[in-house]
Assembly symmetry: none
Homo-oligomer: 248 residues x 2
């Protein structure tokens, strides 16, 4: 049950990147690495990242811009690393929207402490009295093959408009597929994205969950047309998905 937080370290300097990765790994985190923006965005799509450690100064798209991009549609915690001498003061600090920042060179223990602090803060009280705006009515809706998935209410309606009685696990799995349509997702990825854990050697739980989900959304579960099996690869959602704007 207890899931170990999954960190993403984004830094163009390979040495720093791998050192940080190893260090954080040794201290009980799962760690993924990215050298620049594109890799970072891909990791965010494919993995269940809990926190990003982001270098401010990078070739190509810099940390500031990446930070803003992430902030557009998520509250994912971000810790910024700023090179010595960069002007960190008020403007940068305010502008960047990071949850914390750390000037280089830093003591890795200090980074550890801040990561833990930010994670704790996020886990403990995400619901500040009226965070980001009093009337935050939740996330987007997705439509596919006549179905409608409402992330705010965690509900799914079938083409007739009836609410599908999905269990929590089934909903999580479906959401995960719907957010990455027409892409093969390995069991490992699905497990990471839905349960936040890595697969045990003979882990078949995803298969079973897929089966249960198919029974509820496939016209003919024996001949699935929505959730397809990719032998040796995983599963994919075959339908086209449109994302409706957030709840009005």
């Amino acid at each position: 049950m207890e899931r170990t937080p999954h960190l993403l370290v984004v830094d163009d300097d390979r040495e720093i990147r791998t050192l940080l990765g190893r260090f954080l790994g040794q201290h009980g985190f799962r760690v993924s690495l990215a050298a620049e923006g594109r890799e970072m965005m891909r990791a965010l799509e494919e993995k269940a990242i809990d926190l990003v450690v982001l270098d401010l100064m990078m070739p190509g798209e810099d940390g500031l811009s990446l930070c803003r991009r992430v902030r557009v549609d998520s509250a994912l915690p971000i810790i910024m690393l700023t090179a010595a001498g960069e002007d960190i003061d008020r403007i940068v600090g305010l502008e960047m929207g990071a949850d914390d920042y750390l000037p280089k060179p830093f003591n890795p223990r200090e980074l550890l402490a801040r990561i833990r602090a930010v994670l704790r803060r996020h886990a403990a009280l995400p619901p500040l009295p009226g965070e980001a705006g009093p009337d935050e009515n939740g996330g987007p809706r997705y439509r596919f093959a006549g179905f409608e998935l409402d992330t705010g209410g965690r509900t799914v309606r079938d083409p007739d408009g009836a609410e599908l009685p999905l269990t929590a696990g089934e909903y999580d799995l479906l959401l995960c597929l719907v957010q990455r349509p027409r892409r093969v997702l390995s069991r490992d990825q699905l497990l990471d994205l839905t349960r936040g854990r890595t697969a045990a050697p003979f882990d078949r739980s995803i298969d079973v969950q897929i089966g249960r989900l198919r029974k509820k959304i496939e016209a003919d579960p024996k001949e699935p047309s929505l959730i397809k099996t990719v032998r040796g690869g995983g599963y994919l959602l075959a339908a086209e998905v449109t994302r409706a704007g957030d709840t009005q």
Copy 2:
């Protein structure tokens, strides 16, 4: 019970003002802005400001003088921003009567922490009658799924307009859900937000309270459509919530 604190940022530098506004807004406060003394006084008259962040050095009437003017007839908390190099100690100690001050350039997180600290300290004191403190007529109203929750009177009306006889605990729990609609709230969070304590190992009190609440507001408590269970996660209010203006 709790309302989102309303801050007033007073600074003549437009960039700093708006950046601060955005930053504080992102962290769960309602924020108003003023560029100089006149605007500030008007905001204080028209809005229920809980705390002022005030730049010391401003053209026209400076922060010090404004601070004293406010202090004449209220104990409204004030945090002063002082430009680097200004001689703070003496002035602070002797004259300004602010609750805290922060030398520029400052880490925005530091400002956040001080704002929270000052608000907490201030909330602990008994409210003075006549102070520009909490709204006289109580807080906002929320509507969801035909229900109306009035934070002023701590009452809830069902879609027929009849008043629901909720107990104090049930009301607190419902308010807590209504203020964070369409988000999964863990038992721990709910317990913290409603009772201000953390869960004991086998604490099931939230489950029981949720059950009692469901009996009163769900059409079919066996198939809850308003308060959903997220297995392994907690509960969420599935309905959309609109916040009506504060009670007149």
